[in-house]
């Protein structure tokens, strides 16, 4: 099997007495969608934050593309090719949807210390950005300021921004949240394609999506991975059913 793109070993983070992640290890391999599920407050977002660099881990290692990225800040990790979406959308509110995506395109192209060329006439920015909006179905809303988008539309924009970074791995924190039934369906097939572009660590509570997409599922409870395996293994695991799934599935 190929080398893992992302490799986490024994990651820990405490808030006071609370162990939000308590010795988490996992791997993400090329072409893979690795779903991370678990009850609310289990530490899934905390884990994403630590991988993306918006929270500093107390201990443990994070290797990305064979390199230890534990000492890098969030921006540096993003430049290496880690794209993340936020559980609660986080956008440049005054910028239009298009400018939001252009920002990502600009970041991917390299230095932002360019003071002269005007971004709006720069086709190397606008065209790829527009293409991304088209892919997520937001093209008609391209010129609407992010603040005026509906909740679901903002979620779609988050995805478009992550796409525009052409990352080497995606970290998605509940991308389905806020999508209507139709949106969820579309996004599910969209993510399915996306795995060929880059592997993905997917945090999601929408079990239909998880079971449809995941190659591997890890279950996080109270900061620890209590089970990890294929969809079928996880579905039938009694502990997981008790702690998380309930009587569905």
């Amino acid at each position: 099997m190929s080398e893992p793109v992302l490799e986490i070993h024994d990651l820990r983070k405490s808030f006071g007495a609370l162990k939000a992640t308590d010795g988490v290890s996992l791997e993400l391999r090329p072409g893979q969608i690795h779903a991370l599920i678990g009850p609310n407050g289990a530490g899934k977002s905390t884990l994403i934050h630590q991988i993306a660099g918006s929270l500093k881990a107390d201990s443990g290692t994070i290797r990305f593309l064979g390199r230890d990225i534990g000492g890098l800040d969030m921006a540096a990790r993003a430049r290496l090719g880690l794209a993340r979406s936020f559980q609660i959308s986080s956008l440049a509110q005054e910028f239009s949807a298009l400018r939001n995506v252009m920002l990502a395109v600009q970041a991917r192209q390299g230095s932002s210390f360019r003071f002269f060329r005007q971004v709006t006439d720069d086709k190397t920015l606008t065209e790829p950005a527009m293409a991304m909006l088209e892919r997520v179905g937001l093209a008609t809303r391209a010129h609407v300021p992010a603040a005026e988008l509906s909740h679901g539309e903002r979620r779609q924009l988050e995805i478009a921004i992550a796409l525009a970074l052409s990352p080497r791995a995606f970290l998605f924190d509940e991308p389905m949240a806020g999508m209507g039934p139709e949106g969820s369906k579309r996004l599910t097939s969209f993510l399915d394609e996306l795995r060929h572009q880059a592997p993905m660590l997917l945090v999601e509570h929408d079990m239909d999506a998880v079971f449809a997409l995941a190659d591997r599922v890890s279950v996080l409870v109270y900061g620890r991975i209590i089970a990890s395996g294929t969809v079928d293994e996880i579905r039938s695991d009694p502990d997981v059913r008790r702690a998380y799934l309930g009587e569905t599935a």
């Binding site: 009850p39 988008l149 806020g178 209507g180 139709e182 509570h205 998380y244 309930g246």
Partner: protein, 228 residues
């Protein structure tokens, strides 16, 4: 008689119109589902009811009284409890403070809410901005319950909740319904929503395009209005 009734509601954001004539009503003791694709105006409708955005024309009555144009605290005090989209917990208040700051009435107490969501009890002195997404969602629901509303309005209240908790919430909704609580719900999971709803309203581009019982919302209609 309807507890809440909307007639021909139109709402604008600045110059752009979001609602073009929404009709909706909720009867006493009923669970009503408000549905529609993303961006069709569900949240705008709810915000218009509560006076969070100012509707421009139409009529809104609650318990026989017109609440159109009233300030939102007056509307809320008449007995509307909101679980808003995106949770909107008060980040600089602790869990406990979020719950008690706006509490009114006696039916739902802190103990009952904690019994419904034990997680909130465990986190009672933590600031809301450090809660996990799902914990914030529970908090928002608990907070609305503690205002003991006559009509509870849930805007995507199960978003981001783990399946077990979601089941708890739906069963709580069923319990509430059984106790005679009126509820207006927006939710994307039809499989869970339709069984509890008494009636459905579907919005498309800011207009009510369908009204009827869940049974009459056929798969064909679902496909047409909701894209399923």
């Amino acid at each position: 008689m309807s507890l809440l009734a909307l007639k021909g509601l139109e709402t604008f954001y600045g110059a752009s119109q979001a609602l073009f004539g929404v009709d909706l009503d909720v009867r006493e003791g009923e669970v009503v589902a408000l549905m529609g694709r993303n961006g069709m105006g569900k949240t705008t409708t709810i915000n218009s009811i509560l006076g969070l955005v100012r509707p421009r024309s139409g009529a809104i009555t609650f318990a026989g009284k017109s609440i159109f144009g009233l300030r939102s605290h007056r509307i809320a005090r008449l007995g509307l409890g909101l679980v808003p989209e995106g949770r909107r917990c008060f980040p600089n208040l602790t869990v406990m403070e979020n719950l008690v700051a706006t509490a009114r009435g006696t039916e739902w107490t802190l103990e009952k809410v904690v019994a419904l969501f034990p997680r909130l009890g465990e986190r009672r002195d933590q600031y809301a901005n450090t809660l996990s997404g799902g914990e914030q969602q529970m908090l928002a629901i608990g907070r609305a319950l503690m205002t003991n509303p006559r009509l509870l309005i849930l805007d995507e209240a199960t978003e981001g909740l783990a399946p077990v908790i979601r089941q708890d919430i739906w069963s709580a909704i069923r319990t509430l319904k059984a106790a005679g609580q009126s509820i207006l719900v927006v939710d994307k999971t039809l499989s869970e929503l339709l069984p509890v709803a008494d009636r459905c309203f579907v919005l498309e581009k800011g207009v009510t395009v369908f009204t009827g019982s869940p049974a009459t919302l056929t798969p064909a209609l679902q496909d047409r209005y909701l894209g399923i």
